[in-house]
């Protein structure tokens, strides 16, 4: 761990940029890799107040901060960091909440290394400011000290909005809409709210209590949740608008349809999609089998295919269930799409890596259980006409033992809603088509955001779009012709 600089208060004079640039980065303290793979407890310990202030001092408070522009919801990053530096932790959290209502989630799961921290000017010569860690710190401080305030909700408008899905997109839309005075009902297909945040992202990255706290907060705001409602089946969107008295609908159903490799043995026993593997564990508690009756074949040697966030999550989960885990990815380490922190943590936890390896067959025993995985070695091509480097086969193969395979190849959009409400148009990949300004779909009064309109992406992008959609819905409901822009017009006041 790096040295902790305790700010001397009151500071005699402001630190110069040069002095700030010279301050050591406060490394996030982690639980020891060996101990942590035995539990599902959260891996990072979190900054202490001293560390948070020391890290906050590294921010140069740029006049034209690049970081804000690189944040999908435009959090005023230098402003909240300054508040942390000054020891105003609660105020810092409040500042973040002006634009992001899930700070504790985002501080933990956002790909900061591809967003704000990638452009931070401190990063040019040094490690960038730990924006994500600071966001997480502020949000945790707020939660632990019960500083969260219920904001002033707008005058009731008498309008009712149905939000479909309770992932980040649905929750953010519900928040934005209820704060503007609309009545919001969230319809969720599963028996739990939170979407991927509860049934995908592991507890050791995002403890359940954090998501539950945010959902409780929404309930306090007056948002109502209905579970076990698969919209499109039990009620169509047409029903919601025509018979159920809703004035608008917001679709936040995510990208739930797992993509599977189409190779011999893909449907063998012991071959799971990442969604199935993670859902069995995090939604159905299969790791507490047989107390909870949902089974998961334990797996001594697990092969995971893919190297995105989801793959890292599967591998680290499997590790915690005591398996030996190997990752097979057809490109190289540098192209791995996972958050760099996740990749690093997975590396620490002792995953075996087979880069540039493309599975071509799963070999099975007489009862159709997987036994071996056969891969072709790949190499990367020169960039093609779209500037991408493609993995190309080398004709060389290898075979390794495994008793479980988990495919983590991303998801397409679930077609249930578009198939029952055919006036909601989708493009050829099944993604719901929306107006880029208002997020309205091809059906009047129906809006969409999140993975449902992008295919798999990120929590923060889903939230950013949901805010845009909420603004679009608000404008629609209030009968305005011109939809307002993405920027939130809500004020959080005490």
């Amino acid at each position: 761990m790096s040295e902790v600089i305790t700010p001397t208060t009151p500071a005699p004079r402001p630190l110069s940029n040069k002095e700030r640039m010279g301050l050591p980065h406060q490394e996030m303290p982690l639980h020891d890799a060996e101990a942590r793979v035995k539990t599902f407890d959260e891996v990072p310990i979190g900054y202490s107040e001293e560390m948070a202030r020391a890290e906050a001092m590294r921010c140069l408070q740029c006049k034209k901060p690049a970081c804000i522009g690189a944040c999908p919801v435009g959090i005023n990053i230098p402003a909240f960091i300054k508040l942390i530096e000054q020891g105003e932790f609660g105020a810092a959290a409040k500042k973040i909440r002006e634009t992001n209502f899930l700070p504790a989630v985002c501080g933990r799961v956002c790909p900061q290394d591809k967003q704000c921290q990638a452009v931070c000017v401190v990063g040019r010569k040094n490690i960038p400011v730990g924006i994500g860690n600071l966001e997480r710190f502020a949000a945790d401080y707020e939660r632990n000290h019960h500083l969260q305030e219920i904001p002033q909700v707008g005058e009731p408008t008498g309008k009712r909005v149905a939000v479909i899905g309770s992932g980040p997109a649905g929750l953010a839309a519900a928040y934005e809409l209820s704060i503007r005075g609309h009545e919001v009902v969230v319809f969720e297909a599963s028996h739990r709210a939170g979407g991927v945040m509860v049934y995908g992202i592991p507890r050791f990255r995002l403890p359940l209590k954090i998501v539950d706290e945010d959902i409780r907060f929404l309930t306090r705001l007056g948002v109502r949740f209905v579970y076990n409602m698969v919209i499109g089946k039990v009620l169509t969107i047409e029903d919601l608008l025509k018979h159920e008295g809703f004035d608008a609908v917001m679709i936040g159903t995510g990208a739930g349809l797992p993509r599977m490799l189409d190779v011999p043995g893909s449907n063998a026993n012991g071959v799971y999609s990442a969604n199935e593997y993670l859902t069995r564990i995090y939604l159905m508690d299969a790791h507490h089998f047989p107390k909870y009756s949902t089974p998961i074949s334990a797996g001594k040697k697990i092969g995971v295919i893919g190297a995105g966030n989801t793959a890292m999550d599967v591998m680290r989960t499997a590790k915690r269930l005591g398996a030996e885990v190997t990752c097979y990815y057809r490109r190289s380490h540098d192209e791995a799409p996972a958050r760099s922190e996740e990749l690093k943590h997975a590396e620490q936890e002792g995953i075996n890596w087979r880069w540039l390896s493309n599975p071509v067959e799963f070999l099975v025993d007489e009862n159709n259980f997987v036994q071996k995985i056969k891969c072709e070695r790949m190499t990367l091509s020169e960039p093609d006409e779209t500037g991408r480097r493609k993995p190309v086969p080398t004709g060389e193969f290898f075979v390794e033992d495994c008793d479980t395979v988990v495919m983590s190849l991303g998801c397409s959009v679930n077609p249930i809603i578009p198939s029952t409400d055919s006036d909601i148009h989708v493009n050829k990949w099944g993604v719901i088509v929306v107006d880029t300004e208002t997020c309205q779909t091809s059906k009047k009064g129906v809006f969409a955001a999140g993975d449902a309109i992008t295919g798999g992406s990120t929590v923060i992008l889903a939230m950013g779009q949901a805010k845009k959609a909420a603004a679009g819905i608000h404008a629609y409901l209030m009968g305005q012709q011109e939809a307002v822009s993405a920027t939130s017009t809500t004020q959080i006041s005490g």
Partner: protein, 545 residues
Amino acid sequence: MTDRVHDIVKDMDPRSVESVTQALDKAKLLEDLTLDEKTCLAEAFFEVFNHAHHTHSSSMPKVAVRAGKRIAKFGPELIPLLFRHLVESDSETAVYYGKALARNGNVGLAYLVPKLNEYREKDHDLINLIQALSYFKIPEASATVPFVLSVSQHVNHQVTSMALYTAGRLAEKLPTSAFSEELRHFIFNTSFRFLSHAQVLVRKNAARTLGKMMRRGLLSEEDEKKVYKAFLAITGRDDHHNWDRAFIVRREAEGFLPYFHQQSPPVRRYTQSYKIVSKRLLCTNTYHFTLDTPLIARKIEAGQFVIVRPHIFSERIPLSICNWDREKGTIDIIVSAVGKTTTEINAMMVGDSFEDVVGPLGERSVLPTASGTCVVIGGGYGTGAIIPTARDVKAMGNKVIGIVGARNKDSLIMVQELQDACTEVILTTNDGSAGIGGMVTDALREVLLREPVVYVLAIGPVPMMKAISDMTRPHHIATYVSLNAIMVDGTGMCGACRVTVGGETKFACFHGPDFDGHKVDFENLMKRQKMFVKEEKVAFERMKL
């Protein structure tokens, strides 16, 4: 220090806009400054650079730029001093040193260019030098771009990003005549290659440079097309639908898209109790339940199913519907105890509530397309599950023959209900204790001999559905089977229910559950159903303890 300089320097507060402005105004009036005097003034103004970002006044950065201009006016003698500070400064302050240096025009450039080579291995210093280059407004600056772009590749990605940034900025600010055909092509090629770099910041700045070049008309028609294609790929708008994983790269590319076409940018009602309102024994281990689920009852159609979770520790299991009452808001299910969850359900009593019931799920049954004789066949809980479809098929004006099979007379279930839904019902028992002695396939064979059949639906154990499909295949009779794959969510999210139909992978929960029996790979289904035998046994054994 001379008095005239001392006067200016001593009163100046580098954090105050007024004070610095005053000092600058005074310094402007001085003539014939010596090198010492210039140095002294410059050093004082450097303090302004250091504070430019740390005052509350938003005009401070502007004043710092003005101070830089004044220093530049002192002439080339101060270039080495400026350079030294530039190298040492942090990234934000480097802006002012860079701008001051750039104000020295050709002389400044001539000083800087050899230094680039000198510092080529020192990445921390090189980055500020490259940044400084971006502020030059003389056409000659463009000539440094190829060197900068190539040297930066060997250091680290932050330097590469800065080099791309500089190339883009120069492309934007310098007259287009500063870029020869050859140079344009070089910058294009290099930047284009960087679009596939592993580091997001490099990709972002590569996209930025290419975008700026496009906007300035620096790209050939052919190159512009390539960039357009690449930007479509980055933003996920092309056929591959494989966008750049980094938001900042996508956003950068997205911002430029409109400019490719010279266009303006393109434009208590829901509570269900899940309560058991009635329960009756059908045969050993098999019960019939009626559940209060008004929303599901209102919507359900023949062939659809529900997923239930009896209590919070349970598995979610799929169950077919054998009847419903839209007015009363109830659905009827049949549960045969085969393992832990089904045994637990059968232990529940009237008045107990399920934790969750989700539905209706799946597609409704496929109905016959030709009219004529139709056969519905059930085994086990399937005897109930075929009733709603039988009713629909009969309502279409068809003759419906129901065939049910069981081990013996006592295991025959739902006979009365089936008779109500069908034109004729044939019973089969393995031991011959009722109806025809034998299997449902024996009864079907007789029907096929007797009359032409246009449609068969079979729901029951997999071997039964397989035998029926095999029997109707040579007759080309449309045959549907309901696949009871293992499921979790029932909405297409997990893929547990994968089945192979006609060589393709389908999800039984939402492409089905009914499929064309002639295309189903029953072998795979049977094997997949045994995926958790070991675990199921453990669960069941534990339960009995």
